[in-house]
Symmetry: C2
Subunit: 494 residues, 2 copies
């Protein structure tokens, strides 16, 4: 199915309608927003098999994965709805007046920032797309959402958008709370980001794409925040004690993580670093053996398959890079063939290409002379979504410098686990220093994602009747608030 | 006293030392940081009269004001120290493992972002300068600070810097936790902002200055956040009922606020908007009478006095702008003469110069035909630190659209009060939509200012012994944490 790119005037109309809807939507109660989000989850479920079939056709992802991803997307909507209602994200603060010191009554809470433009990801047609985490968190915050459909799964996006529109209608909210536009040209993206009524942008995709949005947003007369998640090679550091104790187990764990979903995850472990020697040799051997036994998978679309083939080829052909193993089964058209290579630390430090992302089932093992070089390698790396340490308790105690260096470059630090698999919970940090994301201070997964779409507003000497419920003396929402520097659910004694 | 500009290689050395100190300082306990901040406050006090005398000479500010400002600066340090120790800003979150769903243990907290470069303000030699709010909040967060002295009060800055260095030494922390450099050229500023080890920037000053830092920071290979507070005209909306009831009172209140500190506050009310008619006429008459009775004050430095004279002249000479009143006493050299003018709404909408900041004791009264035009004017305005509504309860109930429009453009919404006077407390929001600041999502006053210098870090499947204290099962800090979505001070049952 072919969808026409939105024109500049259509985009303007969409944003004007979003802005109008914002005036109503930002005043909705937390319960109204949560009801909308739960209604979207219900409509998503109601799309039944049709949505799954269309998505299978557009993305080549298997049915079971897509069903799981839809369930996860519904969980995001309902769990962020619960967080929305719990109201911690409002960060309500009250400092009562101190007349003796001429200090006025001052109260503060988070308020919605305005219309949010969302660019979905190709590799998560549901969870990071049309009704995904960006949309769910923005709706919780009180912001209307404009989604630009990903051209690689535009029909899937269209079906999801219709489900959202139905939920908006059923909950009696203005139509402009959600809008959906198509666009395969950069002009559509640029027009959305630079429109004066756009107040923030969410994006999941490539470094080139995310950085372009970031630059457009900062060049506006009035710059706006862009939350772009742009990929990562998710280094895994193997500490000597652990490799000695569990080389085979580590190899199996990592082979599974490298090839999961044909490696098409932003949390794919693309770089493994260890200390050269017999133990690492045995790990590499076992990893190679495991990779050989895996089978190539069909990638999301021909463009991604082509990019994988080219980048993999380029990586393997670098000086001092040795291929360790390639899946024995030959790949068919548009398939990505699982591959593991290895290189010395020296080559790694010299050649920046060795720490570029090869999006797909590929990983590179760097052999360092010692742990100090592992630390140096960590310090040498760009910002990452995750960093993993495979370590015994003794390794950890001995090599604190590596823990420090790894924490400096990532948003999530994993011990004895693989980076793939992103728990959707409040403690999640899916975000990291640039270039993993454009803003390491926020997460795109977990209910803290709501914080991306709000800003604080203080009310000075306001009368109780005109205050938002979150700040009223009687605490009608029953939320936790900081009152005169104490956290409490109590009301304010007037 | 003349201070040499720091050279590029000196700046590099300073940042390298900051980075080294960061590795130690970010691991300090909350108590260690709070102790440092309290030690700085004590050293500031110990500067005694010498500091005040030097600051008087450099800034032309009166003794009483400077003594007050130093006391405020000490209060900032000690109150942010208390907030640092209370630990709410750590936003500790724990989601325990759910083995049945293969969900790992996940814990998250805010960690220090790294070395922070601070550019102080000319108009607050203490509270927004060397040991001011940016420095205090960054130290609380665990970040080393590099202050670029404001050239207009470089010696004051030097004395304060020495006091801080003494406190750093007395508390046994690495010297690099605080650095102080001089620079009157833009090269120094640019070198500081673009240095690879710089992780964030705080600035208080002009739109031109702040925007330049923002652009440099975004053009870096690795963009970093800039928190620039860049001024504001702080619109005051007079609602009809209130003007009818209290024209004289409003005039006295506003005349005081316009001329306070010779108008050299970023919260100075530079724009007053009311509904034309007999009531507003009487307000304007009384405001004029009050302004005539005020006396010119000596401005911070000749550059600011010159800029005021020119911008004021330019504002008064615009078509359809009528001068209402000028202080009767003639100004001496470098003095700013209190001035109030008036214009029609029509002129205001046509001429953007009428909503540009005239930094000094100047305000413009806009006469609107009706409240709907007040709303339109609010929607027309750029982002502001504050907006004030002078309104009876009835006015408020009747004119909700004005409340909505005013809230959209500001960070602090004031009822029946003037914008000058910024309470230092957790509920304060000193920040607003661009161009008031570069990031409306953060405040530069109140303990929430700490949040500017941190980013979240998640620990997955980490062993208790290796977790930071804030996330340990036993909750050794006794802080409030979100455990499995519930706010509690309890320990985690393992």
């Amino acid at each position: 199915m072919i969808f026409q790119d939105a024109t500049i005037s259509e985009i303007d109309q969409v944003l004007q309608e979003s802005w109008k809807a914002f005036q109503v939507y930002r005043k909705t109660t937390l319960k109204q927003r949560a009801d909308l989000m739960r209604a979207i989850a219900a409509e998503l479920e109601a799309t039944g098999n049709q949505l799954i079939q269309v998505a299978m056709q557009e993305t080549n992802l298997p049915e079971a994965r897509l069903k799981n991803e839809r369930a996860r997307t519904m969980f995001q909507l309902t769990s962020y709805a619960a967080a929305c209602e719990a109201g911690h994200w409002l960060e309500a603060r009250i400092d009562t007046a101190v007349p003796a010191e001429s200090q006025p009554d001052l109260r503060k809470m988070q308020v919605a920032i305005g219309p949010v433009v969302v660019f979905g990801a190709s590799n998560f047609p549901f969870a990071y797309s049309t009704a995904g985490g960006d949309t769910a968190s923005a709706l919780a915050a009180g912001c209307p959402v404009i989604v630009k459909a990903h051209p690689a799964h535009a029909e899937t996006s269209e079906i999801v958008a219709k489900a959202i529109a139905k939920a908006v209608q059923k909950t009696g909210l203005p139509k402009g709370v959600f809008a959906h536009v198509h666009g395969s040209s950069t002009e559509v993206g640029k027009a959305l980001v630079t429109h004066p009524q756009t107040r923030a942008v969410g994006f999941t995709g490539s470094l080139g794409g995310g950085k372009a949005l970031f630059d457009w947003a900062n060049q506006r007369k009035e710059p706006i925040p862009v939350f772009a998640e742009m990929g990562s090679i998710n280094p895994v550091f193997l500490l000597p004690g652990k490799v000695r104790a569990a080389a085979g187990e580590l190899a199996a764990q990592l082979a599974g993580s490298i090839t999961l979903g044909t490696g098409q995850f932003c949390t794919n472990p693309g770089l493994i670093l260890g200390v050269a020697g017999a133990d690492l040799d045995s790990f590499v051997r076992e990893l190679g053996a495991a990779i050989e036994k895996t089978t190539p998978g069909t990638m999301l679309h021909p463009g991604i398959a082509k990019a994988y083939t080219e980048k993999r080829q380029s990586a393997l052909s670098q000086d001092h890079v040795e291929t360790v193993a390639i899946a024995a089964t030959a790949p068919r058209e548009n398939q990505g063939v699982p591959t593991v290579a290895t290189a010395s630390a020296e080559a790694f430090f010299k050649n920046p290409l060795l720490h570029q992302e090869v999006f797909g089932p590929y990983s590179l093992v760097i052999q360092c002379p010692d742990v100090a070089t592992l630390v140096k390698a960590a310090q040498h790396l760009e910002g990452q979504l995750t960093a993993s340490l495979m370590a015994t308790d003794e390794d950890l105690a001995q090599h604190g410098a590596l823990v420090d260096a790894a924490q400096e470059i990532c948003g999530r630090l994993i011990l004895n686990g693989v980076p793939t698999g992103v728990r959707v919970s409040l403690s999640q940090q899916h975000g990291g220093p640039f270039p993993a994301t454009t803003d390491s201070r926020f997460t795109s997964v977990g209910a803290d994602a709501i914080k991306r779409w709000v800003r604080p507003l203080a009310y000075q000497s306001w009368i109780d009747a005109a205050l938002p419920d979150a700040l009223k003396n009687s605490n009608p929402l029953g939320i936790w608030r900081m009152i005169n520097n104490e956290l409490t659910q109590a009301e304010v004694k007037s």
